[in-house]
């Protein structure tokens, strides 16, 4: 039982939830319809015109209102009071009933009244019809505070034909016309204008233009009046809607009548009166009134209370003038107010071709922008070029100042770069070789093409040190390095040649020098060991010669007698067999061997040397004497046939030196010179001469020059003349050590200087310079 009840409740809950769903559905539906109804409730504005549709003034106001009601959802209702045609009490009573009916059906949010008739109507009956609905008026002529007495919830804009402004304008534009005719009528508005003109006449006084007011006339009278106007007169037309006989005239009718009947300049107060033949005026216009009213309505709809919206007392008037008529009446344009609108003025050039000018302007603008952009680009690129050029020059300078030959080649082996060293090396300028195959530009490098290809293929630097080549009969050496140019793929290679000839020579010289030193060391060690056997040989040979050939030696005689052979027989035999000469040969050979050992010892650096002060002049003379008696010299040439020219400076200081060493050097030079002069087949008839100069040009140095007039030597020989083992003599004539030992003695042992100058065919000049203070200074 209890369980069933539970089930029931459950079922009941299901029913309730379905009801809730249904309720929610309808709620949503209702809400949406309710919001739809709300969008339907718009603002309803009533514009209540005094006159009728088609009446220009009313139409202008209507247009001003229509075009300036900006609030969304505004519905504008327009009613026409039509008082130009109907204005009896019965009509007005029925009209108020009609409006009451309409307002009851559709509540107006704001009522706009235009012109005096509608305003008067609303003032009297509005409260009854519209209650406290806000009232905005416009087009009210000559409104005063009194007119608004008893009205609440009201604001609006005054309409005031500015007669004074117009009269001032006419006087200003036509100073020569002293009379002014003002045309108006006898309606309510007409009365107000008559009053205003009277007030202006009084304020202007007697000096001013004579103003004649025309108002209480029939159409015919008006026409007559107009025709009678002379050219001393101008005319201000306000309005003329009813003549004295009650004939109603539309705005355009009355002004048309005026225009047709006079030639004087016609000015008007209201814009609707503007037409052909009217000069213009300081104009009140319907559109401006409607616009001002609409703006006040906008404020109300935006929530501003009417009481806070001020009444616009100053009628929104403006100057408006017809260009053609201003011209016709010779008006001075300088007198026209600055804010005036000139109608139908011939379009200025700018106006006439406005569209074209804009187009052309745009095009010119675009072109100017383009020019600027181009100029900017040009400046940028000029600067960039300048920078680039400088960078190029800089890099080019760097490359040119390299002591190496640098040649760039492309993948096909054509020259792309050629620095100044390359120019010097080949004698070809960059212009001549760029683009040429490397083989053609630099034939020596044709063998390097394989290396270039290899460098480009492996992208690794290929170095080939000490490549030998011949230049002017001399072997030169250069290191050849090939650098592949790798950037975004392979673009070529740079070949660099470094002349290492001097380096190689120097290294060789050092090697030789080292060799000599080690030879010297070795010689010092073994000289004793060699000299002893040599002594055994030579000395024994000497003893043998004595014993075999000395016929007076008692020991010889005794031994010969003991042997039974007479000494003379032995001597004869020995002579006959040439034994003494052979023994001499042994001695000579032994002596030569000993000399070589002694020479080798020269290369040993010795600390203990016997330095003493010597006069270089006497040392030189001793050497010349020695040379004259020199065994070798005597054997090969006659030193005494050589002329000696001495140019000695007097009173030279003594020089600390090793006399024997210096003598050795001098003798060596003399010997070489004598050999060169006397063995030269071209110069056998020439008088051989040594010129010897000793002087002190530099206070620190004594200078000894020995010049011969032999064949001289070429530059290659000259450069190498001090190299050890360098010799131009036949193999058996010299060891190539003489001059290098001399050089060693002067430069190493004496810390002096030695060099040689030579011109082929003119001889050689050896210069030795020794320090006055000795080797240690």
């Amino acid at each position: 039982m209890k369980k069933r009840q539970c089930t029931y409740y459950l079922l009941d809950f299901k029913k309730i939830s379905s009801f809730i769903l249904l309720f929610l559905f309808f709620l949503i539906l209702f809400c949406s319809t309710a919001s739809a109804g709300k969008t339907d409730s718009k603002f309803h504005i009533l514009l209540f015109n005094s006159y009728h549709k088609g009446y220009l003034w009313s139409d202008e106001i209507t247009r001003g209102v229509e075009e300036n009601l900006t609030k969304d959802g505004v519905v504008l209702h327009v009613e026409y009071m039509d008082t130009k045609r109907h204005f009896d009490e019965g009509y007005l009573s029925l009209l108020s009933q009609l409006l009451l009916l309409k307002h009851a059906k559709c509540q107006y949010d704001v009522v706009i009244v235009s012109d005096n008739s509608a305003f008067e109507f609303i003032k009297n009956r509005g409260q009854a019809i519209f209650g406290n609905t806000p009232i905005i008026f416009c087009g009210l002529n000559y409104l005063t505070e009194g007119d608004l007495k008893g009205m609440v919830q009201v604001s609006g804009v005054n309409e005031e034909a500015d007669l004074e402004g117009n009269i001032n304008l006419i006087q200003r534009l036509h100073p020569q016309r002293h009379n002014l005719v003002v045309v108006t009528d006898n309606t309510i508005t007409g009365h107000k204008i008559q009053q205003e003109v009277g007030r202006i006449q009084q304020s202007l006084g007697h000096d001013s233009v004579g103003i004649e007011l025309v108002y209480d006339v029939t159409i015919t009278e008006l026409k007559e009046k107009l025709r009678s106007l002379d050219n001393n007169t101008s005319l201000l037309f306000t309005f003329f809607s009813r003549d004295r006989n009650g004939v109603f005239l539309e705005y355009d009718e009355s002004i048309a009548t005026v225009v047709e009947n006079t030639d004087v300049p016609i000015y008007v107060s209201w814009k609707f009166s503007l037409r052909d033949g009217v000069v213009g005026g300081y104009l009140t216009d319907g559109y401006g009134q409607g616009q001002e009213a609409a703006e006040k309505v906008n404020l109300i709809l935006a929530g501003t209370p009417v009481s806070e919206i001020p009444i616009t007392w100053k009628s929104p008037n403006r100057f408006c003038l017809e260009y053609a008529l201003l011209k016709k009446f010779n008006v001075d344009f300088n007198r026209i107010p600055e804010d005036a609108e000139i109608l139908h003025s011939p379009p200025t050039f700018v106006q006439e071709y406005r569209e074209q000018i804009i187009k052309v302007g745009i095009i010119i603008g675009v072109l100017i922008l383009l020019v600027f952009a181009l100029a900017y680009g040009l400046i940028r690129s000029t600067r960039a070029e300048e920078t680039l050029r400088r960078a190029e020059n800089f890099i080019s300078n760097i490359i040119d100042s390299m002591p190496s030959v640098l040649v760039g080649v492309d993948v096909e082996g054509r020259v792309t770069h050629w620095n100044s060293r390359a120019r010097t090396a080949t004698g070809l300028s960059g212009l001549q070789v760029i683009g040429q195959p490397l083989e053609q530009a630099f034939p020596r490098l044709s063998t390097e093409m394989a290396q270039v290809q290899e460098a480009m293929r492996t992208r690794e630097v290929v170095l080939q040190p000490r490549q030998a080549h011949r230049v002017d009969n001399e072997t030169c050496y250069e290191d050849v390095t090939v650098y592949p140019l790798v950037s975004n793929g392979i673009e070529g290679a740079v070949i660099r040649l470094d002349d290492v000839t001097e380096k190689v020579r120097l290294e060789e010289m050092m090697v030789q020098s080292e060799k000599m030193l080690s030879v010297g060391g070795l010689a010092a060690g073994m000289a004793h060991e060699i000299n002893n056997p040599l002594a055994g040989m030579i000395q024994t040979a000497n003893v043998m010669r004595d014993r075999l050939s000395n016929r007076e030696m008692p020991a010889n005689i005794r031994a010969a007698e003991a042997s039974g052979i007479p000494m003379s027989a032995i001597y004869s035999y020995m002579e006959a067999r040439g034994i003494p000469k052979m023994l001499d040969r042994i001695c000579e050979s032994g002596a030569r061997a000993a000399e070589i050992v002694t020479n080798m010892l020269q290369f040993a650096r010795k600390n203990s040397s016997t330095v003493s002060s010597h006069d270089l002049v006497s040392l030189m003379d001793q050497c010349l004497e020695l040379a004259g008696s020199d065994y070798d010299l005597k054997k090969h040439f006659d030193f005494r046939q050589i002329k000696i020219v001495k140019k000695y400076q007097k009173d030279l200081p003594l020089i600390p030196c090793e006399k024997s060493k210096i003598q050795q050097v001098i003798l060596n030079i003399l010997r070489n010179g004598a050999e060169a002069m006397q063995t030269n087949p071209d110069q056998t008839d020439k008088e051989h001469c040594f010129t010897i100069e000793i002087n002190q040009r530099d206070p620190g140095w004594i200078r000894l020059e020995i010049a011969d007039n032999g064949p001289g030597m070429d530059e290659a020989t000259r450069k190498r003349v001090f190299e050890p083992f360098f010799t131009t003599k036949p193999v058996d004539m010299g060891t190539g050590l003489g001059l290098s030992v001399s050089y060693f003695i002067i430069t190493e042992n004496h810390n002096g200087r030695m060099n040689v100058e030579s011109t082929v065919g003119e001889g050689a000049r050896f210069t030795i310079e020794l320090r006055v203070g000795g080797k240690n200074i």
């Binding site: 000289a527 002893n532 002594a535 002694t598």
Partner: protein, 134 residues
């Protein structure tokens, strides 16, 4: 004639050199003795009292300079002429200043043996003069 010729001692470890000098001086009529080492030469010198000695410097055992100083102890007036195989050899000053040491150092090979013999003869005479003065 033989009586007037002096005796010379040749000190040289090289047999050929020593012999060549022995023969040369012998041929000139000098009395000659040879020694291969300084030690031997000292012994010989004390036995024979030579007038002069040709002294080699580089020797096995005692060297030539020490020999000169050693000989001086017993025979201060024996003329010593140095003849060495080391070219440009200069003996120490304390040896060179000895009056019995001849100023010129002969180098082997001696190309002019006559000069050597003449130098020895002169120097022996000088040394004898000094000996008489002493």
């Amino acid at each position: 004639m033989t009586a007037v010729m002096p005796t010379v001692l040749i000190l040289d470890d090289d047999d050929a050199v020593r012999e060549s000098l022995l023969y040369y001086f012998e041929d000139l009529g000098w009395g000659v003795h040879g020694a291969g080492t300084a030690e031997e030469a000292l012994v010989v010198a004390r036995q024979i009292n030579p007038a002069g000695v040709v002294v080699d410097i580089r020797l096995p055992g005692m060297d030539g300079c020490s020999f000169i100083l050693e000989l001086e102890k017993t025979h201060p007036h024996v003329a010593c002429v140095i003849c060495t195989g080391s070219p440009e050899y200069q003996p120490p000053d304390y040896v060179l200043i000895r009056p019995q040491v001849f100023a010129k150092i002969f180098s082997k090979p001696v190309s002019d043996l006559g000069e050597l013999a003449e130098s020895m003869r002169q120097h022996i005479m000088n040394c004898n003069v000094k000996a008489i003065h002493d």
